[in-house]
Assembly symmetry: C3
Homo-oligomer: 279 residues x 3
């Protein structure tokens, strides 16, 4: 069985992602091409990196992800294929989109796509849609077995992979600090980079309370004392709580409300979170 | 051939629904997983129930629907699998999402998912994303044949299924009354629960006119005299009409306009509609 | 291998498009049904025509496209199947949606769907959802081989195909003129109908500058002197440029901005563009 392809972009789902799928199925009509998210905030490579982290571990090892959030399309950023520790691949501009893959999943090897061999021939005059003309085309050839990973192009050192800045998780007395990893717009879930194991190791239990402070570039934007609970329904509608996120990190949310929208929260290293235990 | 899986949620299509698909394909890569709607209004179990009613009859019997609109995730609401009269299944929290299935399609049997056996092992600390960790995982096992319907968990009486309140259709002299079943946001179609057969039985013809009154909690929000016609194009652009909906119920809409948005209409038993024949 | 089906509508992706897919898979569960765009502006047949032009050349020849942007549903517009020059098909209301197919790709033959034979039997009372009840059903039968192209219904002359008005590309001294073909909402890309070959034939090079004027019904709405460059990243963030579009036409955009939204630009023959070479 040939590997699955899973696409994510900041294009919105529509004619652009459809042409990417068409290019792949024109190489090999037996391939199966799925969609991750196409609603990544435009040009937001941090969100692209997080989206891979959120989903990739749940897809079969060996799957080939295509990630196209590419503000530098047509300039000299590298177009690459990364082979991950679990045997899956990510085909992507090397522009920070691989940050979580490198730090959390692990990258075995990375190769720069040889554009002289792996560009769609029919669109040689176009230099603005590498999602279709380069990434989908190259990924389709790799998935179908037309080319091997080695034939993608020359390998380069792992320490040349572009990484976005991230803040470390720190524990200082009664305070656990980190950054915001994601700020979902649909339900307003605000997820930190603090692993649940930090809570577990310190024996923090359901019902324990923390003063939660969220800052943007140092400026306080949210501060409230909240309980740590298993899930939304353990507080009244409209009340906030701390819980374990889908990614097994510490998350803050409002039951049937929207914390992200209420406080205009976004994610990335400009956004810090502190949890101070209330005795 | 293995049964199809068809997913609906209130998550929006994106990384959450992608992980559900990945979990299923990790159980059995030959399964085929489709999407119904992921734009159900957040927490709106009535809309989830209606969405199943709208689509399920058009999918092959034996298909397995997964419906995750789950405001009570992580609390003690039942997580269930219903076997329908037509041989299809619905995997869902038992929170009202099965209302139309029970009343219109018919439910043969229902079983509560045994969470000790059918939870994704790798995410045991997480209690907020049963779409991935319980419903998709259990549905994938059922679709692939890893477990039988009996192995889902213990059955329980059909009369314990949670039903949302609905208003009956009533005919009183020249007036036919019911409730709003759906209020589409894209085209503004407003569909009642009045079956077309009520019109047919009374010999109502194209060209007949009705005073249409829509009320929210008893307060009048729309009132206009409108003709019953076959389709949009039989009135001028911007004019309203009565027609037979996709679901063979009586529906009101504006030709190339948006009745739902113009009058802020939603659906459910708080919303009533009366059609009074104009002689 | 049976041909692929590719659907586009103005319905939004959701329960309506899901029922179309269910109808097709009920005819033949081995068919594969993909999505082009379901976010075509409601009732905008020009956008439907352009969406086919944008994507169809990248899908395998022989694919069957279903296009349902159908303001005249239930009136006497023709419902048709067009056989294209490349062997692909388009199943669509004949309402202008075939404009680009006729002019750019080429149509070999067209047949009107015989509604007495190719309507879904179970929904005979409904006359507002031909996407499900006629187009998907007929396309599924064609794709599965249940019917041949000849069995769709009677053929009619190609010159009866409904065409939307388009403005020709004209070159007058230093000025190249055309119309707006599309105005993307996500990235704000504004694409003209001027083929890149017009630039190539005149020896226009990267770095050359043009005064770009966009008019709506003759009224000037945008005017700026811009450089012709390979891609976004060759100007600073927030600056505009001229480039070759994905469709190998001349396009205007702002790097990481949104030209369409900033100037309320849409597409079609009411929207003209002039590029005057700056010496």
């Amino acid at each position: 069985m040939k590997p699955f392809l899973v696409m994510q972009t900041d294009f919105g789902q529509g004619i652009a992602t459809s042409t990417m799928r068409g290019v792949i199925l024109s190489i090999d009509p037996h391939l199966r091409v799925f969609d991750n998210s196409h609603d990544i905030r435009p040009f937001n490579t941090y969100e692209a990196s997080y989206a891979l982290f959120f989903t990739l571990p749940f897809w079969p090892p060996g799957s080939i992800f295509i990630s196209v959030v590419d503000p530098g399309v047509g300039t000299n950023r590298r177009a690459s294929v990364a082979l991950l520790a679990n045997g899956s691949y990510v085909v992507t501009p090397d522009n920070g989109s691989l940050t979580h893959m490198k730090k959390v999943i692990g990258i075995q090897a990375i190769r720069e796509i040889d554009q002289t061999r792996h560009r769609l021939p029919s669109t040689r005059k176009v230099d603005i849609f590498h999602g279709r003309d380069l990434f989908a085309y190259c990924a389709g050839k790799l998935a179908s077995g037309v080319i091997s990973f080695e034939e993608v192009g020359p390998s380069y050192p792992l320490d040349e992979i572009v990484l976005l800045p991230q803040l470390p998780v720190q524990v200082d007395g009664r305070t656990i600090s980190g950054m915001l990893e994601s700020a979902d717009r649909r339900f307003g879930l605000v997820c930190s980079n603090i692993p649940y194991t930090v809570f577990e190791d310190r024996g923090i239990d359901h019902g324990d309370r923390f003063m939660v402070s969220i800052r943007h570039q140092g400026r306080l934007v949210f501060q409230e004392t909240l309980p740590f609970l298993p899930s939304f329904g353990h507080v009244d509608k409209g009340e906030a709580l701390i819980m374990v996120s889908e990614t097994q990190q510490i998350q803050v949310a409002i039951n049937q409300g929207n914390l992200s929208l209420d406080y205009d929260l976004e994610s990335g290293p400009d956004w810090t979170i502190d949890l101070e235990a209330v005795l």
